[in-house]
């Protein structure tokens, strides 16, 4: 077991998460003032369930970003995972086999990404961008323009079900958030991951197994994408080859709004969770207020930049 020096010199993560929470609340108050439909249990549950899918994708990505890496293959992993797992669930009539397929594909993609980044030293952006194309191509070839749909209701509980009036994905999200936070902040492995991004030279010199930890974060990101593919299938009851392209950028946006730095070493899963909620709330609000479609991308873009800018201002003031 290695003690990681330098960790207590990191900025106080708790303060930054609290700042984001405040931003989220301001947005919530604003929306409830503008739309009477906003502040209802059903609407808030909808928002949480929509945010859950985004959070599953961004959770593993947060760990990758902590190491100053990036995973652009998430959306394509979901597309391939959902298409193949969907076919398996239908043809083999086994949700478990389908789940193993999606997680297997995610894990394998992550392993390849991790090996390219750590062993071949290919920049993460390039390695995972190349992977995106390969996976997308495989998904297109595999589906040949078809759609796989209609899954057993037992499996669909993962996306559609409720436990004590709370949507299943929301409960899973809460569990993942708790486990992930403990992993990233309270375990030696988690601290080593943060350190690789904060100071790679110091990490190597102090004996952190950099390559193995890098492979680990990409595998976790792949597994998270594989799991997101399952939730997608269960929720949408179908999959086609082109579902991934619109998923990757919002996942990255959630991580960045959540306060993680692309330069590594900074970021929390709680922050990413709030980032996912902010993005989802913005879309929810625009729908409730019937904002014209031409303005929606613009509003989203401004909010992403503003969130990160406010964060930087906050850091400068504190330091």
């Amino acid at each position: 077991m290695i003690r990681v020096p330098g960790l207590n010199r990191l900025p106080p993560e708790a303060t930054r998460v609290a700042m984001r929470l405040a931003a989220l609340l301001v947005l919530g108050v604003l929306l409830s003032a503008l739309s009477s439909a906003f502040l209802s249990t059903v609407n808030l549950m909808n928002v949480l369930r929509q945010a859950a899918l985004l959070f599953f994708m961004s959770s593993g990505l947060t760990l990758v970003v902590l190491t100053a890496g990036l995973d652009l293959s998430i959306g394509a992993t979901i597309a391939l995972g959902a298409c193949v797992a969907g076919t398996v669930i239908k043809n083999a009539d086994s949700a478990w086999l389908g789940a193993a397929t999606a997680l297997g594909i995610g894990g394998a993609v992550g392993l390849l990404n991790g090996m390219m980044v750590s062993l071949l030293r290919i920049p993460a952006f390039i390695a995972t961008y190349g992977m995106l194309w390969v996976l997308q191509g495989l998904a297109y070839t595999y589906m040949a323009g078809n759609t796989v749909y209609g899954f057993p209701s037992g499996f669909r509980q993962l996306g559609n079900g409720y436990l004590l009036h709370v949507p299943t994905p929301v409960i899973v999200m809460a569990a993942l958030l708790a486990i992930g936070t403990v992993f990233a902040q309270r375990t030696v492995w988690g601290q080593q991951i943060v350190m690789i991004g904060a100071n790679p030279v110091a990490a190597r010199l102090s004996g952190v197994p950099v390559k193995r930890r890098l492979i680990l974060v990409y595998v976790l990101s792949g597994l998270a994408a594989g799991f997101a593919a399952l939730v997608y299938l269960a929720r949408l009851n179908s999959a086609e080859a082109d579902i991934g392209s619109s998923l990757t950028l919002p996942a990255i946006a959630a991580v960045l709004i959540g306060g993680a730095s692309l330069f590594g070493g900074v970021g929390t899963l709680a922050g990413t969770f709030i980032g996912a909620l902010i993005l989802t709330l913005v879309l929810n609000g625009m729908n409730l207020l019937h904002v014209d479609g031409n303005w929606q991308p613009l509003v989203t873009g401004v909010i992403i930049v503003a969130a990160v800018w406010l964060d930087l201002q906050g850091q400068r003031t504190r330091s």
Partner: protein, 320 residues
């Protein structure tokens, strides 16, 4: 390691390279927009079937990245190099394709335009269905079915694309004919299922009494359908494309109708016209597909897998 990955890459890319069907006679290059939309899959199968029955062969070209105009332009270069006898093309971008079409014209390869009309270049013929009319007729079917009154929501396609604009215009035109119907929201869901479901979930909070939903494609209609049924809404819903999934949903009563474009027939007719032209037979300058709104009452001919479908005979093709 490097060699293995290069080989793997070559395999993956090889899967997308033009694959030809061997037959006697002419070689027709068929250029479609993407691998993902079932519409273009139907168009490819239709073209291949027509060519086969006329003893010719097709070379299929599909961009690896969906709707990539740069890829489609370089595929045109490839078609010219390979000296295909004729080309049947569904342009990814009706404006940006024009320089490519001019190259084809310069190489004296006859070109047939299908699906989206190119804004320039010389074509033997254009075969298409018009988005505006399809959207208008589909919307009219929904508005009649809800009794000509109540609240309606529109789910739009990708803003700025010709199809999305024309379909939205068609919807609005139909709405104008039903003064007691109120359009309470028109929001984009970008032809995507997940977005349609989430947008619908959101809109149902502000507009719980919606009576009908007009989706600009089937994928969005089905995404919205799930959100509606979960919220216990009885709203009727229509899509556009006549996809297999939509046919199933119409059959089981979950969806009211789908406007049909019939990619299969467009592919058939495109290849037939190209071959007839090469064989110096008479061809029409334009073929407009009759617009059909598929409902429970007329879905039988659509409830057949692609491989089992038959191209229309030349006499059945409308020549205008």
């Amino acid at each position: 390691m490097t060699r293995v990955s290069t080989m793997a890459l070559a395999l993956v890319l090889g899967a997308f390279a033009a694959h030809s069907a061997v037959a006697d006679g002419e070689k027709i290059a068929v250029l479609t927009k993407n691998q993902t939309n079932p519409f273009f899959q139907a168009e490819r199968v239709g073209a291949a079937k027509a060519a086969e029955s006329m003893h010719a062969s097709v070379l299929q070209y599909v961009p690896t990245q969906a709707d990539s105009i740069s890829e489609q332009l370089s595929q045109i270069d490839d078609v010219i190099t390979k000296k295909a006898d004729a080309i049947v093309i569904a342009p990814v971008d009706y404006k940006a394709i024009v320089p490519g079409i001019q190259k084809i014209n310069a190489a004296k390869i006859p070109a047939v335009n299908v699906t989206d009309r190119s804004s320039g270049g010389d074509f033997v013929s254009f075969i298409g269905a018009d988005d505006y009319t399809i959207a208008k007729k589909t919307a009219a079917a929904l508005l009649k079915a809800i009794g000509g009154k109540g609240e309606v929501i529109v789910l739009e396609g990708v803003r700025g694309t010709a199809t999305a604009q024309d379909r939205l215009r068609g919807f609005k035109e139909a709405l104008a004919e039903f003064p007691d119907v109120r359009l309470v929201a028109s929001q984009p869901a970008n032809y995507q299922r997940l977005q349609a479901m989430q947008v619908m979930e959101n809109l149902l909070q502000a507009n719980p009494n919606v009576a009908g939903v007009l989706a600009a494609n089937d994928t969005m209609a089905i995404g919205a359908m799930d959100a509606l049924s979960e919220a216990g809404s009885k709203a009727l819903i229509t899509g556009i494309n006549g996809s297999k999934e939509a046919i199933d949903a119409i059959k089981s009563g979950k969806m009211l109708a789908s406007g049909d474009y019939n990619g299969f027939v467009q592919g058939c007719v495109g290849a037939m016209i190209a071959l007839r032209y090469l064989r110096h037979e008479e061809v029409p300058k334009q073929v407009t597909q009759p617009t059909v709104v598929i409902t429970k009452d007329n879905l039988a001919p659509y409830d057949v897998p692609l491989d089992g479908r038959q191209c229309p005979s030349w006499d059945q093709v409308p020549k205008s």
